[in-house]
Symmetry: C2
Subunit: 429 residues, 2 copies
Amino acid sequence: MFAERYADRVQFLNPSSIRKMMAIAKGLIAQGKTVYELNIGQPDIECIPEFCEAIDKKARTGQINYSPIIGEKYLRETYARYLNNFFDKDGKPHLVIDTDNVLITVGASHALTSCFLGICNPGDEVLVIEPYFSPYSGFLAVAGGKLKAIPTRAEDDFALPPAEEIEKLITPKTRAILFNSPNNPSGKIYSAEEVERLAKICIDHKLFIISDEVYREMTLGDKEAFSVLQVDFGNEEMNEKLKNAIIMIDSASKTFSLCGVRIGTLVARQPILEKLALVVAHTTACVSDIMQYGVAWAYDAILSRPDYLDNMRKVYHERLEATMQAIAEYLPGVVAPKPDGAFYLMLKFPEFEDITEFSHFMLEKFNLGNETVAVTPAASFYLTPGYGRNEIRIALVVDPEKMRRSSQIISEALKAFSQFKVNLVRPML
Amino acid sequence: MFAERYADRVQFLNPSSIRKMMAIAKGLIAQGKTVYELNIGQPDIECIPEFCEAIDKKARTGQINYSPIIGEKYLRETYARYLNNFFDKDGKPHLVIDTDNVLITVGASHALTSCFLGICNPGDEVLVIEPYFSPYSGFLAVAGGKLKAIPTRAEDDFALPPAEEIEKLITPKTRAILFNSPNNPSGKIYSAEEVERLAKICIDHKLFIISDEVYREMTLGDKEAFSVLQVDFGNEEMNEKLKNAIIMIDSASKTFSLCGVRIGTLVARQPILEKLALVVAHTTACVSDIMQYGVAWAYDAILSRPDYLDNMRKVYHERLEATMQAIAEYLPGVVAPKPDGAFYLMLKFPEFEDITEFSHFMLEKFNLGNETVAVTPAASFYLTPGYGRNEIRIALVVDPEKMRRSSQIISEALKAFSQFKVNLVRPML
């Protein structure tokens, strides 16, 4: 009855493939099927216990109140302390941040949407390293903006293209370069030189550099993540320009296995922060005070328990090793580059043209002893047409034994799928 | 250094006068001053205890996880049950809602911004009854839209203008009529006939009717709120059209004294809900699972404890009576219409042209025994130029004794302000 009922931007918002699979998986689980949910980066690891103590304490005051637009001072202060310490402890040079550089948001997603709403007019563009976390395109579409890909490929170890190639993508509409290191989904950690290359381009073209560092602590081998806060041009003028371009995004979700607290942080110089805080104020009013309280205790706890992060990295590393081994054993035809960080694997199935149908078949029509696996078809992590169509992303979010079992299930599902397809094309009697 | 660094929409986002006063008040409190914070609708009443039990229980599972985009089923189900029961218990006819009609958001603010982002293109307009909750204009500005006032005035008991007057404001750009009953700041409860009048206009002009009902339970006398869900045209075709136009907004903040949980609800038919859920997914990804769990317990609790709301209403009613009496005693020149609902009072000071300077003077430069009062200058609740300039809004958020004391402080501050102004204009020696 209503012509043009919805805003134009809504047509560019689609449920992400991650969330689509999540909805189907949850439905099957409710019906009694065992599903290894490797489709979503939701760790099964128990959340940090100090969080639970803190929120219980806060709840018992009976006061659950509005928070300042910019976030609670105790969390902003603690996070600044945590981050400075994170770099300091290994003697890594970095920009020192303080409380005034920290804005609290409803998770990294809200930090990114607030950022895009704050800097992009309809029609503006943001460059992003491809493959990229697929919801980025919808976050930007809310502001009316459009993502443009800086392509990187598994066969080149996801290396960044030369500066000239990247600069060709810049137009008068370009507002920022967005990157994510360690990268979800590829696991790539960009080198110091690569991050500096991006930073220099941003300065030269007056762009913001948006660095999504939610997986900073999640390294799977010897390679450490290099933060945008660590860039040093050895030149005061350049460094000063960079400071005016940095927007760094972080989250409590992965670091503490607290995806359900919805607490993110945005780090920038104060004048930038104040503008973006206005967007926070006019999208969610403010962030939950009790969740901020719990997360502040969590950051504070790992300041005095540095082994917390080491242990978590060990857990993910063991899962990775078990999975790589299982893939070699059960899925010999699959190409699986070993990730440096985050907790995902991209698996390429060369025999497929499009893996979507198989992914749905495995989840919805297949089981091995009433068990199956949910994965994310990877095409949505690419903007370049055709890319990623024969790839899936799996998350290392269950224990090594279950990761092995998942590889076995995928292998059996592949056989069953071939049979299923043969039956489909067989003419009716 | 960066020309046009920020998106155009940011220039329309200003910290609300409520929040501006909050920031100053918090600063003074930190310095040791006692400030009665009547500037913000943050109840001092303890939150409902079942919430605390629930989140403690949930935290102890160690699993704080991503939630479905549309919200947790247990909360959507419980809220639907609560709302149907709220109307049923007094035998009030209403539209029955079910789980599929409920979307969970990060508070009513996020429900409203998601709604505006979902239905408004840049340049689109939304009509709002004036005076209105001032952050509405920023919520809409995020989507590029513009509020247009349906004026109502204290001297007419905030009565709605005739349909013809409202229809004159509608243009091809109009997308919705937004109203809030009980109204913040005026305390007005719109009659069944007034709500039906708005509903009929919306149907005739193919507009959404956005009904902000966060104060539904907060009535201060005998008059009950009339919900958009209670409209019945006695005509199936009209009722059907209305069902396709309704977007109802609610929140746990005031009902349970849980402003810091940031849990809101949006009620609409499923096709509308699914579109708006895409905006939620691309602004905040999802809503905190543990906060949803706590709020579900809260709604469930008051289903079996109907006196919970009665007691709360009694508390606010006592505060209102004490305040009305104190105003008559200490502030005889002030015009203070008695509100029917919500928990605010609008006070008009006829001797002032603009009350802003006095409000800041009282908060920042005045004290009575080291105590003072924070209020909200009311001009920001009006779009019509000049309106509300000699009005303030105060919230009934402290006990009767403190409400009385606040009136006394305002009275003394008025005397001190006169002296202050005299001194200012006295020529220098």
